[in-house]
């Protein structure tokens, strides 16, 4: 086990190095005057001085554009990255790590509530679809799954806003809290937040539930075809006992590993949904930063995402071994 984990961590480091190389290359492909152009207005307004801008650029090795300058810039950035220094965001004028750690919790909250609902709805539906394979229920679930997978998040969110916020007026259109609510804390503020988050969470649930339902269905089908299920039936057990006692537990194995893999990525933020509902989550911040050429933030955010997804795969692989005693490590 220990050896396996060490091996996996070494591999993860290699992957992260590759990702960092890709991100850095993309950023360096931008023309040199790009950052200057993006910050022209800020410079002319006097919120940021030309010297400051040059200083920041030098810090990221963005000022030297010769071949060796780029190489040097990469290692400089990588060195800072390893020491946990993601630099200072141009746009938010705060250390990138701080911006990320402050705002990722909003995203996490939304995504976490959404994932709970997804599992609660998808698992029963997926199991029924599998036990009634090719029946009406299966067809209904399959079609729902397909529609969920096919919905573009921005369009679905816009439809929800139009119908439930604009026409019916049941929910607020955008934001995390009412303008009148200054965030003094307390229960009213909390409930106001929840009220504002209902539509975004519904969007996330509908968009993501499809693949989960299908995953549950496939797994259940696989389990139901296994020999031990036939044995259970041959013993004369009741069908409900066969399914909920013998099959269901084995269906849960891949789902638990999937959940372990998803957990870290809940911090990454749903960029489009947050943008449509203008929520102050990490995804929306990253989108705004990207639009304004905030290179330190964009690079930091992308590395953050890569770390999360590597962590996710690692966790789910380890969980796989922990949950299922039949799996032997290679």
């Amino acid at each position: 086990m220990f050896k396996y984990i060490v091996k996996r961590i070494l591999l993860a480091i290699l992957i992260l190095l590759g990702v960092s190389l890709i991100i850095y290359t993309l950023v360096r492909l931008m023309p040199t005057d790009y950052v200057d152009g993006k910050f022209q207005s800020q410079v002319s307004q006097g919120t940021i001085t030309v010297e400051q801008l040059q200083e920041i650029k030098a810090l990221y090795g963005l000022s030297d554009n010769s071949f060796w300058g780029i190489i040097k810039g990469y290692f400089q950035w990588l060195g800072n990255l390893c020491r946990g220094r993601l630099g200072t965001s141009f746009k938010y004028r705060q250390p990138v790590a701080q911006v990320i750690s402050q705002n990722m919790w909003t995203s996490f909250l939304i995504a976490f509530v959404a994932i709970i609902f997804e599992f609660l709805i998808a698992i029963p539906l997926g199991v029924t679809a599998a036990t009634h394979q090719y029946g009406t229920r299966d067809y209904v679930v399959t079609v729902l799954t397909m529609i969920g997978i096919s919905l573009p998040s921005f369009f679905f969110a816009a439809m929800l806003i139009k119908i439930f916020a604009v026409d019916l007026g049941w929910f607020p259109i955008q934001g995390m809290a009412d303008a009148s609510n200054t965030g003094g804390g307390g229960l009213t503020y909390f409930f106001d937040n929840i009220y504002h988050l209902i539509l975004p969470i519904v969007t996330l649930v509908v968009i993501n539930i499809g693949s989960l339902m299908r995953y549950t269905r496939t797994n259940t089908l696989e389990v139901l075809n296994a020999d031990y299920i036939r044995t259970a039936r041959a013993k004369g057990l009741k069908e409900s006992k066969v399914i909920y006692k013998h099959a269901f537990r084995n269906t849960m194995i891949p789902l638990v590993t999937l959940l372990a893999g998803i957990l870290p990525t809940l911090f990454s933020g749903a960029m489009i949904v947050e943008q449509v509902f203008s929520l102050p989550g990490i995804g929306n911040l990253a989108y705004q930063a990207m639009m304004e050429g905030d290179i330190p933030f964009v690079m930091g955010y992308n590395m953050f995402l890569a770390v999360l997804s590597v962590l996710g795969t690692l966790l789910s692989d380890i969980m796989y071994v922990v949950v299922d005693p039949r799996v032997k490590l290679a």
Binding site: G37, F155, A158, M290, A306
Partner: protein
């Protein structure tokens, strides 16, 4: 013949049979591609009265079996019909309904009437309300609601939404077709090499695949989109850059599928036979291995078409993909990010392209799902 001899002769026969089965497999896969040809063949067969037994047997060739199973599912038929209609709509539509062009504005003008109530104080001290009506003459007929002249109304620039939906379909469908095609080529070559040669080739290629599958795809697409912006690429050239980026970030999945399959197939007996026959590496990979990967590949390609449309639409929606004045379905929805009043009051501007996106992705998913069931030999229904 004593026991030993018998055993020997049986053994020597074995490679021969496995060669045949190997070729059979390859042909099976190729037949899937040749669906159209198969259809024609069966149409002619039943018309002849004295059909020999062989011909009857041929109607159930593996390719036909797949087709039969594919068309048995209602969802696949729905998907196929939807996709054909969408292609006709996008590619033939603008030829038939050519009243308006893709970027042509309706300059017939429009009167904008704004009424407001103003309270005026009369000389004698009482107050009375006056309704003020302001009529502004606009040069272009923008945000007109659906009518006979504009079936789906016009957008903010005064362009016909119905026409732009058709042109948008051209761009969105073409981009996804080309991207998936390129991804598949790249994936097949790299996955094939990794699976066939194994050892360090496999190690190197698969580590690259690992990296590309851990890359945060959507944020990197955004980054690439703003990179194209900063390079000042011309609007019509932009689409090609987009395709290149989507391909580069998307081939890893295909490569993984191909490699996994080839690792399995490489150990099959018919490959030993191919080896024994002294076939070249190239021929072994592309004539004997790749055709057997085709079933999985076709399924992943169809599903890939749907997800590529979604990626492209999301990018265009954030104004980082195809840009106005060119129409793509996502681009047409982009207006709601900048103008909340369009989101609230002018549904006809952004709902039709959104519905078209859903239909297209749904159709590809239905077809992909149907193909997956039809091509899976373990499925017996």
């Amino acid at each position: 013949m004593n026991e030993e001899e018998k055993f020997d002769s049986q053994n020597s026969l074995e490679p021969n049979t496995s060669v045949e089965s190997g070729l059979d497999k390859a042909q099976t896969a190729l037949l899937v591609e040749d669906r159209a040809a198969d259809l024609v063949a069966t149409d002619t067969v039943p018309t002849e009265e004295s059909v020999p037994l062989d011909a009857n047997a041929k109607t159930l060739s593996p390719g036909m079996l797949v087709l039969k199973r594919f068309f048995r599912s209602k969802l696949s038929i729905v998907g196929l019909t939807m996709i054909i209609l969408l292609f006709l709509f996008s590619f033939l539509g603008p030829v038939i309904f050519n009243n308006w062009g893709e970027i042509q504005r309706d300059e017939s003008g429009k009167e904008e009437i704004v009424t407001s109530v103003i309270t005026v104080t009369n000389p004698d001290g009482t107050e009375s309300e006056v309704v003020q009506v302001t009529v502004t003459q606009l040069k272009i007929n923008s945000l007109a609601p659906p009518s006979l002249k504009h079936w789906l109304g016009t957008d903010k620039e005064g362009q016909d939404v119905f026409t732009r939906c058709m042109y948008g379909g051209r761009i969105s469908l073409l981009i996804s077709l080309i991207v998936v095609f390129l991804e598949t080529i790249l994936g097949v070559i790299l996955g094939g090499l990794a699976g066939y040669f194994g050892k360090w080739v496999d190690q190197v290629i698969m580590r690259i695949v690992d990296i590309f599958s851990c890359v945060p795809t959507f944020p990197l697409l955004l980054l690439a989109g703003s990179l194209i912006d900063s390079l000042g690429v011309d609007g019509s050239m932009r689409i090609y850059y987009l395709m290149a980026i989507l391909t580069l970030l998307g081939w890893a999945g295909t490569a993984r599928i191909v490699r996994g399959q080839i690792l399995y197939l490489r150990e099959q007996e018919y490959m030993t036979a191919a080896e024994a026959m002294g076939l070249g590496t190239w021929r072994k990979i592309f004539r004997h291995l790749i055709p057997n990967v085709m079933p999985q590949l076709i399924v992943s390609m169809t599903l890939g078409l749907g997800s590529t449309i979604l990626y492209e639409a999301s990018l265009s929606y954030l104004n980082l993909g195809v840009k106005a004045p060119y129409a793509a379905w996502g681009t047409m929805i982009n207006i709601i990010t900048t103008d909340v009043s369009v989101l609230q009051n002018n549904v006809w501007v952004w709902a039709p392209p959104g519905i078209l996106i859903i239909l297209a992705v749904l159709a590809f998913n239905f077809i992909g799902d149907g193909l997956r069931d039809a091509l899976d030999p373990r499925m017996k229904r």
